[in-house]
Amino acid sequence: MTTAPESPRLALKAPPLSRLHEWVVTVDHKKLGLMYITSGLLFFIIGGLEATMMRWQLAWSDMGVVMPDEFNRLFTMHGTTMVFLVGMPILLGSANYLVPLMIGTRDLAFPRLNAFGFWLFLFGGLLLYFSYFGGQGLYGMGSAPDVGWFAYAPLTERTFSRGHSTDYWILGLLVSGFGSIATGINLVATILCMRCKGMSLMKMPIFVWIMLIDAILVVIAMPPLAASQVMLLFDRSLGAHFFDVQGGGSAVLWQNLFWFFGHPEVYILILPAFAFVSEIIPVFCRKVLFGYPLMVAATVAIGFISLGVWVHHMFAVGLSPAVNTAFMASTMLIAVPTGIKMFNWVATMYGGKIRLHTPMLFSLGFLVQFLFGGLTGIMLAVVPFDWQVSDSYFVVGHFHYVLFGGLVFTIFAAIYYWFPKVSGKMLSERIGKWHFWTLFIGFNLTFAPMHVSGMLGMPRRIYTYHADRGWEIWNLISSIGVLFQIIGVLFFAWNLLRSLKKGKPAGDDPWDAWTLEWSTPSPPPAWNFDVDPEVRSRRPLWDKKHPEDPDWKYE
């Protein structure tokens, strides 16, 4: 075989404007996936800066870094950004990029709908942030939203939230939410309609299984939020009375509606973390994933149970003991499938030849921190304990251990793992280890002391505190941790930019992995596969590399 000499015209790069145009009009799942993830990372920086401002303000008692009004905007925008503009796009983006490659097909089921979903998400996010400029409207008051990320009624009513700030919160999330529903539908249709030859449901990579359940949750949980937001919009713009307590409306109804969306939402966010580590841990331990069928069953169970636990966000409201007990039980129940997953990951590592590369380090960080966050979650499920620490920094510590220590750490693991496939270049292991350790130390320094300050009675969302409470030292440690986290993220940015320019060439399969995406060139061509792949087991590349001992003999 001879290779044709490369045509000089092909080697020329298109002018920048044409390249930009290519990205704007693309319907390719890989380009859209990258745009999702890139915009998610940019919003991550913005949300992180907002958190930094808050930690600076809270570092010591009676600080005056930001005014109280501004502080309210900061925590609202931080929460809203991290959930809707960081977690959602990165999960949808990684599913976008990886699912078609893993199931051996060319694109999502509806490529144009996919592009539509992405642009809805992006402009929804920009609309939310435009509130900083447009929130005043004609009222002369109001700026960015300042009602908390769950926007409790009746604080959001026009009487209490003047100007347009809450309207921007509603409309921005409504627009990006429609985008998420569209992409959720698209992903389910892709997974159930476009698998390659031989890939029956139980031969799908576990990543695809978890993303399937995740996408179904998106399709089910986002519409109730949209309906609630429309009702709130009618309250504010047309004078309806849904959540207007003076007009007979119910504030608790908003809480029920919001958390009926909100609790599945936190599982929508954490399931991709499970998906990432379930792919990464086996590859870096050189063993198959322990208990694949149980993993699938646990994922389905989590999907179901997550729809029936929302009242545990409302224990302090004063509902009846029967209701509280029922939801306490269901919340405890969801720890069972989650625990099964933890044990399966540990069992996968047990006896394996563990390679401590950066993706594995971040996965181990996830295991430790997610376990810690899960255990405080079980504590919070106990109603009397919840009454004691509800709305305190204990809760803030808990959900950051789950969503930051859990989700964000696995996002970094996933980036280190799949970056070579996406770009054709390896990320630097040396900088990667600096990144991991600074972030690991910074994260724990920031969020572990919050459990203590919470136990000492420090409420969430306060903009400052007096010196006589004994909270200073814990807050100071928390704020010092932020410095380490910033350094960690800077290491990451440096690694990313440096490796894009002069990273080691990755080759097709740098980790000696087993799923179909590693059989394509890095980066994969627009058409993904030259020949339609055929799959006989859950690890098609293992079968190819080890014909003397293929997996299909044992499955």
């Binding site: 249709a189 029956s200 399709v219 519409p223 849904f242 007009g247 007979g248 409306g249 014909p547």
Partner: protein, 212 residues
């Protein structure tokens, strides 16, 4: 031990039961719509009888089982038009599958006409409620819930009518053929959903909300 002949040893590929993506996509859209309307219906049920001031449903709505209100343009009368349109669209899709274009056009136009009558009826009902009874979104909880739920349903009817009109125009211009039956069928699924939801909305608003 025997030597391994890898090619001969390869097992059969497992059968893959891929679903048709158009049908699955529309089913998922309907699933998300069910949760959307489900939320609005739950809120409606929650607020029944909680109004602080009138007008109450009993003052202004046409109850379905009271004899004197069986007049044209009453809600029960309209509902029959909407539900019947589901039969027409089913017959239309059948006709298109068989390539009977004239029959398809007739039944398709009937579907649009019957849907249009329902929408006009809703318009008349709303005119009476707003102009004569003084009920609007900001009047009381009943007004808020009623106009939101019924309004979202009417919006879905309107979208369906627009899409069906596009298909009708395409058919009259000769762009719609037997081979498009699968796609036209998907639109009929949406229309059946809009009709099906109305049964629940009707039950909640005009029966439970009125008599309950």
């Amino acid at each position: 031990m025997s030597t391994i002949d890898t090619n001969a040893a390869l097992p059969e590929l497992a059968p893959v039961h891929n679903l048709p993506k158009g049908k699955l996509g529309v089913s998922l859209l309907i699933l998300s719509e069910i949760f959307f309307f489900g939320t609005l219906i739950a809120v409606y049920l929650f607020y029944i009888g909680k109004d602080l001031s009138g007008p109450y449903p009993q003052d202004v709505l046409d109850p379905p089982f009271a004899a004197p209100t069986w007049a044209p343009m009453a809600v029960s009368f309209n509902s029959i038009f909407l539900l019947t349109s589901s039969i027409w669209i089913w017959l239309a899709v059948k006709a298109l599958e068989q390539g009977a274009m004239a029959r398809f056009t007739l039944f398709w136009a009937l579907t649009i006409a019957f849907g249009g009558v329902f929408l006009a009826g809703t318009g008349f009902e709303w005119y009476g409620l707003i102009a004569e009874d003084g009920l609007w979104l900001n009047t009381n909880l009943f007004g808020s819930c009623f106009f939101t739920l019924v309004g979202f349903h009417a919006a879905h009817v309107t979208i369906g009518l627009l899409l069906m009109t596009i298909v009708l125009v395409l058919t009259l211009c000769g762009y719609n053929h037997q081979r498009h039956a699968g796609k036209v069928d998907l639109l009929s699924w949406y229309w059946h959903f809009v009709d099906g939801v109305w049964i629940f909305v009707f039950t909640v608003v005009y029966i439970i909300g009125y008599y309950g």
